[in-house]
């Protein structure tokens, strides 16, 4: 695949590229069709920034919802609305993407307008003029600088903390589910996510489960609305 995934380009850009490649419009049907491609593509991407990956996964979850709805047309109206909003978001992003191409074209014409360069003499005149803020003292300078240093410090530590955050891979979760099913023929989804530390982990586990269903390795059943999801080996 020759799709370029720029570091900051984001999930919507990837999705639009996939849709354009298939020469489709933004619609529920095309999004359902593209879901597998999108997820397949994510797997090929090396991403060591969990936050960035999370952005891609949120979109993956939405695509899976759309695909699920295509397969199970009796989904709740609540989800209907969410899908519609997502389509709108994508269309809006596409509009701005088009606009950004026009802006790029304008910039490349080099029709820059220049301000006059700052020239003290031109403003103040030849005479030397010194106009200090009358109330400013050396002590005020010292305390302002100390405050500035304090403000700059915590931001640094916060950054270091983030890099220690644990990464979760879909592959990892797939393996975990597969391993659980070695010992027993079926297991509840709640057991799988019992040790999840955050929502992202639960989402990733759910994506892993959907992936296993797609690969026809497991089947799932749910006895009642919002009931436990039972996962069984095929």
């Amino acid at each position: 695949m020759i799709i370029q995934l720029d570091k900051f380009q984001g999930p919507l850009s990837l999705l639009l590229q996939l849709i354009e490649k298939e020469e489709m419009d933004i619609a529920e049907v095309s999004l359902a069709k593209i879901a597998d491609q999108y997820i397949a593509y994510l797997k090929t991407v090396e991403c060591n920034n969990p936050e960035e990956m999370a952005d891609f996964l949120v979109v993956a979850a939405k695509l899976l919802l759309i695909k699920a709805k295509a397969l199970l047309p009796f989904l709740q109206p609540e989800e209907e609305e969410e899908i519609e909003e997502f389509e709108q978001q994508l269309r809006m992003y596409q509009e701005f993407l088009e606009a950004s191409k026009k802006i790029q074209a304008m910039l490349s014409e080099h029709r820059f307008m220049f301000a006059r360069p700052f020239n003290r003499k031109a403003i103040v005149g030849i005479g030397k003029q010194f106009s200090p803020p009358k109330l400013l003292t050396k002590d005020a300078l010292g305390s302002v600088f100390s405050e500035l240093l304090t403000r700059l410090r915590p931001a640094q530590e916060l950054l270091r903390e983030e890099t220690l955050e644990r990464k979760i891979h879909i592959e990892e979760r797939i393996l975990a589910i597969q391993n659980s099913l070695i010992k027993q023929a079926s297991i509840g989804f709640n057991k799988i996510v019992a040790e999840a530390q955050n929502n992202t982990e639960i989402i990733v586990s759910f994506l892993a489960l959907l992936e296993l269903v797609r690969m026809r390795e497991v089947t799932v059943g749910q006895g009642e609305l919002f009931g436990e999801i039972e996962i069984s080996r095929v």
């Binding site: 720029d6 709108q88 809006m92 509009e95 606009a99 950004s100 910039l107 029709r111 220049f114 006059r116």
Partner: protein, 183 residues
């Protein structure tokens, strides 16, 4: 031309930077409305005349600049090396801010579907956007700067193609209103 217009012209010329209408009104000691009216007239007059000097209007400020068609000559003369090149993510973010500014960071993130912190920081450093904190909510709202408009060769951001439609596209408001808080 009346005195007020002439005074505004002199001020814009001497200051060599963007001046807010409020600031101008204070200096010339005239009511803001009159200054607004005179400024409007001035911008139009410069636009109408094929002149080597133009006036940009943006966010209640005015700046006098050289005409876009002479960019090459001026760039050579002042040895300016601006290329106008931007990475695609920067360009996307700038586009959204140009059409929809002042816009909150969260809304930019929602439109692009990614966290834009790093890009915003970089655009601020380059002086292409500026952030203003809204007092009530402590949220920062971003707008493009006059410097960015200078590079486009426009007198006003409203001259961007499709500005009216994209500026107030109601689907944007719908998406922003309905978007999940955690995206």
């Amino acid at each position: 031309m009346n005195t007020l217009s002439s005074q505004i012209e002199s001020l814009l010329f001497v200051s060599a930077k963007a001046l807010s209408l409020k600031n101008i009104a204070e200096v010339v000691k005239a009511p803001l409305e009159e200054v607004e009216y005179a400024a409007e007239e001035l911008v139009e007059r410069y636009k109408g005349a094929v002149s080597g000097v133009q006036i940009i209007r943006h966010a209640q400020s005015l700046q006098m600049v050289s005409a876009p068609e002479n960019a090459k000559v001026i760039q050579e003369f002042i040895k300016d090396e601006t290329t106008g090149e931007l990475s695609r993510p920067s360009l996307e973010t700038l586009t959204i801010i140009a059409y929809r500014g002042p816009i909150a960071k969260l809304d930019i993130d929602r439109i692009r579907g990614v966290n834009c912190s790093l890009i915003l920081r970089n655009l601020m450093l380059r002086g292409l956007i500026e952030g203003k904190v809204k007092k009530e909510t402590q949220e920062t709202y971003y707008s493009v700067t006059i410097d960015f408009i200078r590079f486009l060769g426009l007198n006003d951001v409203a001259e961007l193609p499709d500005y009216d439609r994209l500026h107030q596209d109601d689907t944007i408001d719908r998406v922003l209103a309905g978007a999940e808080p955690n995206l």
